[in-house]
Symmetry: C2
Subunit: 318 residues, 2 copies
């Protein structure tokens, strides 16, 4: 059976950084990525990246290219299209599948860099919208959404931030949330509720997204018919004409593989100490699988990759 | 009196990152740097930087250039040649001096990014050697030191790592330490003690470095005349002919300004929580002033800058 000292699951910025650092420190290391390319959530960044010190890129793909170039130049070992099926933490073995071929890999230390995923609505038309590339950034796509009618779905910080940013650009902004309670910070909520350009609909679920070439409308189901802004209190929308939908339901850490095997917090994040060790002394976690979205960034993921590799170098007596 | 929401002291990678992130998050922020240029310890990196994911640079100066370019493009506010004389944590004010001019700046939050400094021997000839540029990296300068006689001064990991790396390149390697106890990891010590190419002298102090155009010899004072390698046990060196001296006495965090005002650990580092808050709720610390050298890196400093700015953005309700 193949053995590596350090096995990294996940090839986003955290995993790439850990692999580069392992290589730099002379650690025998292998990185596994489920997708056909390394980069992880970098593929979801469509706006300019201005917050990775020393390196500004047009978008996530350009950052991905630079990080992968660095990774490949360093001769880091990796496998793409390789799905981890099972982690057996007792025998310190993972079962993986690459195309039809299954194999087992044995590790001394495991680094989980599995990242997080955007939560989806799970309604008809949603995937088609994403596949058509109708994925917007509220901060970067202000011009693209100028004069449009925009629906933002969600009740957290990012939904409210998006509504605030777009309220000065778009023709109309609807903020639609399935509950009457918001997870967003209070000052965000106050700012939006008092903004006459934003129509806040609570207790309202989106049940479908329509449109062939681009989004044209959404179906709504209102549970309590209670709307926060006075003027919308007694109106009921069953179908709302919109030009764009921004789904802001937050992210969930990708921790299915490790559930019940290491301690996780109530928000689903893997609990680690300051050198990123989980509750299992042979399993470490870095990046968005253990970092709250509020503190998530390419910079901090890269920093965590450095720290975990330095820690493992010392554990492995290299 | 001038007031800023966030005042950053120190313009190395940690401070630069914090400032870029503050700007990105819309925080009113000012960075103060004592030297004439931003960059901090980047100026001490003479070898290729291969461990900042996405960006490889020839040396620290090239990294400094890219980071400062980014910082300036983002319109971050800063002052160079500005020495902080005193921090009054009660009135949340710092007294600074720029050339002859003194002024006071009031802050809501203070970020200490003061870094660390290489410890020096403090002997005649040392500063002249540094000023002549005779500063070597054991990992990068193997070829430059090939066939030379090299003295490495220190008893920690970096001294032992340097001796190990150079033992296959240099003609002779002396590892000179003022005590018989080593701070280096045991496996490092064993590797060096059993290496016949390295002469280990303990209880020996370097009292002077000689040489006009380049180092030619060092003066030694042996306290106990006890040498670790058998063959050197009964020899006494008063002057040792060497071609190069590598001072590896470790680093000390730059915390003089804040001594007694925030909690520090036994190793001198500022104690912080996971969002980099110190024991004073209005004072944060990032980078080498709060990070052990073992875990220090440009990546982790940049990551800490991101985290502290995100935390302060939330504290300031931005």
């Amino acid at each position: 059976m193949r053995h590596v000292d350090v096995l990294i699951i996940g090839g986003g910025p955290a995993g790439i950084s850990a692999a580069i650092w392992c290589k730099r420190l002379g650690i025998d290391c292998l990185l596994l990525e489920e997708q056909s390319q390394l980069g992880g959530q970098l593929f979801n960044i469509f706006n300019e990246i201005i917050d990775y010190p020393g390196m500004r890129t047009k978008n996530g793909i350009e950052m991905q290219r630079e990080m992968v170039k660095h990774f490949v130049e360093m001769d880091c070992l990796y496998e793409v299209n390789t799905k981890v099926l099972f982690i057996d933490e007792r025998s310190k073995t993972v079962k993986v599948k690459k195309q039809a071929k299954k194999q087992e890999i044995c590790y001394t230390y495991l680094i989980l860099a599995t990242g997080s995923s955007q939560r989806k609505l799970g309604v008809p038309g949603e995937q088609q919208m994403i596949d058509r590339g109708e994925v917007y950034s509220a901060s970067a796509d202000g011009e693209r959404l100028k004069g449009k009618t925009v629906a933002i779905i969600g009740g957290g910080d990012r939904a409210f931030e998006g509504a605030h940013l777009l309220s000065s650009k778009a023709r109309e902004v609807y903020l639609i949330h399935r509950s009457t309670r918001f997870k967003a910070r209070e000052q965000y909520v106050e700012r939006i509720i008092s903004n006459p350009c934003i129509k806040v609909m609570t207790d309202t679920e989106v049940t479908a997204i329509h449109g062939d070439r681009h989004v044209t409308s959404i179906d709504l189901e209102s549970k309590n018919k209670e709307y926060k802004n006075k003027e919308y209190k007694n109106k009921e929308y069953k179908n709302l004409l919109v030009d764009a939908v921004l789904i802001r339901l937050g992210v969930a850490p990708n921790v299915d593989l490790i559930k019940g095997k290491v301690a996780t917090a109530q928000n689903g994040l893997i609990v680690t100490d300051d050198v990123h060790q989980s509750s299992n002394p042979f399993i470490y976690a870095i990046g968005d699988s253990c970092t709250t979205p509020l503190f998530s960034s390419i910079s901090s993921s890269a920093g965590q990759g450095a720290i975990v590799a330095k820690q493992l170098s010392s554990m492995l007596n290299i």
